[in-house]
């Protein structure tokens, strides 16, 4: 099972591809307000891409509770552990 930092490393190429920012660096604190072009469409696209990569499905309530990349990585970690 991946730990949170490894998951963030795996998320980075997905975010770079969707947001079209080849040099994007993700940290646990990265969120829609401090990452350029992360709008509602990009968010849904990112969620779809992450779901495909990790073969899981987020619920609306889970998506709404995410405040930053750290939260997303922790959620993925929990879902993978089930």
């Amino acid at each position: 099972m991946s730990n949170r930092d490894e998951i963030i490393t795996e998320l980075e190429p997905i975010f770079r591809d969707v947001l079209d920012q080849p040099n994007l660096k993700l940290t646990p604190e990265s969120n829609a307000s401090n990452v350029e072009d992360w709008d509602s469409l990009a968010h849904v696209t990112l969620v779809g891409a992450v779901e495909r990569r990790f073969k899981l499905r987020f619920t609306l309530a889970e998506l709404q509770s995410l405040k930053n990349i750290g939260d997303m990585a922790s959620l993925i970690q929990r879902k993978l552990a089930k």
Partner: protein, 473 residues
């Protein structure tokens, strides 16, 4: 009971806050919560006790459906129950908002023996119905968050937001009835809440109502204005609704802070936005969060796992049109939602082109467009709205002021001071929430709070004080 009224400010709020604090520290959290529930029901029934059964019925039904969703073992049953619950809330809301329109049409046919029933809109039905839908969706997806009856009744009827929001989630509010989780002490949060409440009161009775007098004079049928006048009246309405609703929200959030409960903020200086997307992240934020999470995202995700710009444009236009319809059974509201959705779609396409306008120009375009949307929001009919918009375009009478002259001699101090103060506050300086979060424990701020409270109390006592605009929804 209006937030900006003597019974609320000087009797209801102090009695509820002090008794709640006493009960919580000396008797227990559960007893304090029962007090809060009874206070909220008293607040809701104050103006029209006959509305109470609708709120209580909504609480009971949604609590029962929520329990059924959480305890149903089979996924298909859970899904059916969720859709039944969502459908029931929408039917409940629509029966008040739209059946009257349909029945009025029937009454116009003069059918023999047909009597038009009284389906007057219960206060806050649009807001608490959305909160109930959010609760059911959250319970479906996280059954462990299901409420006890006391928790659900206290959450749904909570007096700071029951009439006009901020639209809040059960899972964020209910835990705060049990334990205080703030970074500051409860007393400090209560002081900040009082400060925020007084700022909101000032926004409402000193600013919004003054702008409202100008807007009311301008949005009258068969009016003919110069371009300048049409813009002045339109801007007056934009400032009126901003200070009215953000003032209301400050008072709601401030009241909740006084009880040690944090609510989502609703406004963050929206008129400073440089795009429509940014505007909707700053205007009526609890509604736009609902639209994003419970309308736009599910609509877009239902179109397939791969989201595209085309699908997103369709989803945002549909979601905003539904939001327009939520405001009322009028073509003007639907058109308001439609043009906001279209603007957000254009904004998304523009962002992907990676072309940026200069900051001042993008602000000017955004603010001008927001004003256009408000013309639809304020106008009684689409025909009136288009007539008004034509007058906002350059025309032969560009700078005439004959209609404005009729307003100027009328209590000029009552109008000019709020206009200057309001125009500054909307565009510059800290927002009321930022001010309330900053260092408020200084003699100048204490003095300013006292002055604002006295001024607010004086204006509450005048005939100029109006009810909150969003009470109509």
């Amino acid at each position: 009971m209006l937030f900006s009224s003597f019974p609320y400010v000087f009797v209801f709020l102090p009695v509820v806050v002090l008794t709640y604090a006493f009960a919580k520290s000396k008797v227990g959290a559960r007893s304090a919560q029962v007090w809060l529930l009874l206070s909220s029901l008293f607040f809701y029934g104050w103006a029209k006790p006959s509305n109470l059964p609708f709120l209580l019925g909504s609480i009971l039904c949604n609590w029962v459906i929520g329990r059924a969703i959480a305890s149903a073992g089979i996924e298909t049953n859970r899904t059916r129950l969720l859709w039944f619950g969502i459908g029931a809330n929408i039917a409940f809301l629509f029966s008040f908002k739209y059946v009257n329109v349909f029945l009025s049409g029937l009454a116009a046919l003069h059918l023999p023996g047909f009597v038009l029933p009284d389906l007057e809109l219960p206060l806050g039905v649009s807001f608490f119905s959305l909160a109930q839908i959010m609760y059911l969706v959250d319970t479906y997806q996280a059954p462990e968050t299901v409420n006890s009856f006391l928790d659900h009744a206290t959450f749904a009827s909570f007096f700071p937001y029951v009439t006009s929001g901020p639209i809040s989630r059960s899972m964020e509010v209910v835990p705060q009835f049990k334990t205080f989780t703030g970074e500051t002490s409860r007393i400090e949060l209560a002081c900040r809440g009082f400060f925020l409440f007084v700022l909101g009161l000032g926004k409402k009775v000193l600013l919004a109502d003054a702008f409202g007098r100008i807007a009311d004079a301008g949005f009258t049928p068969f009016s003919h204005y110069s371009t300048l006048e049409a813009w002045v009246f339109c801007l007056a309405y934009a400032f009126e609704i901003y200070f009215d609703f953000s003032g209301y929200s400050d008072m709601a959030i401030g009241s909740a802070w006084m009880l040690g409960i944090r609510l989502p903020i609703n406004f963050n200086a929206p008129f400073r936005s440089k795009s429509m997307s940014e505007y909707w992240q700053r205007w009526h934020m609890s509604l736009s969060a609902f639209i994003t999470h419970y309308l736009y995202t599910p609509i877009l995700r239902s179109m397939g796992r791969r989201a595209t710009i085309g699908k997103s444009c369709v989803a945002v236009i549909v979601a905003m049109s539904i939001a327009g319809l939520w405001h009322g059974p009028s073509l003007t509201y639907i058109f308001w939602g439609l043009i906001n959705g279209a603007a957000l779609a254009v904004n998304q396409v523009w962002r992907r082109k990676k072309k940026r306008l200069p900051g001042a120009l993008s602000w000017a375009v955004t603010f001008a467009f927001v004003n256009v949307t408000f013309v639809f929001f304020r106008s009684p009919t689409l025909e009136f709205a288009f007539h008004f918009l034509r007058q906002m375009l350059p025309q032969t009478d560009l700078l005439g002021v004959s209609a404005l002259r009729g307003l100027i001699p009328f209590a000029p101090n009552l109008l000019w001071r709020p206009i200057i103060a309001g125009s500054f506050l909307a565009f510059f300086g800290k927002t009321s929430t930022e001010l309330a979060e900053s260092d408020i424990f200084t003699p100048p701020k204490a003095f300013a709070t006292a002055v604002l409270l006295v001024l607010g109390a004086l204006c509450m006592n005048t005939s100029a004080a109006k009810t909150f605009l969003y009470f109509a929804f």
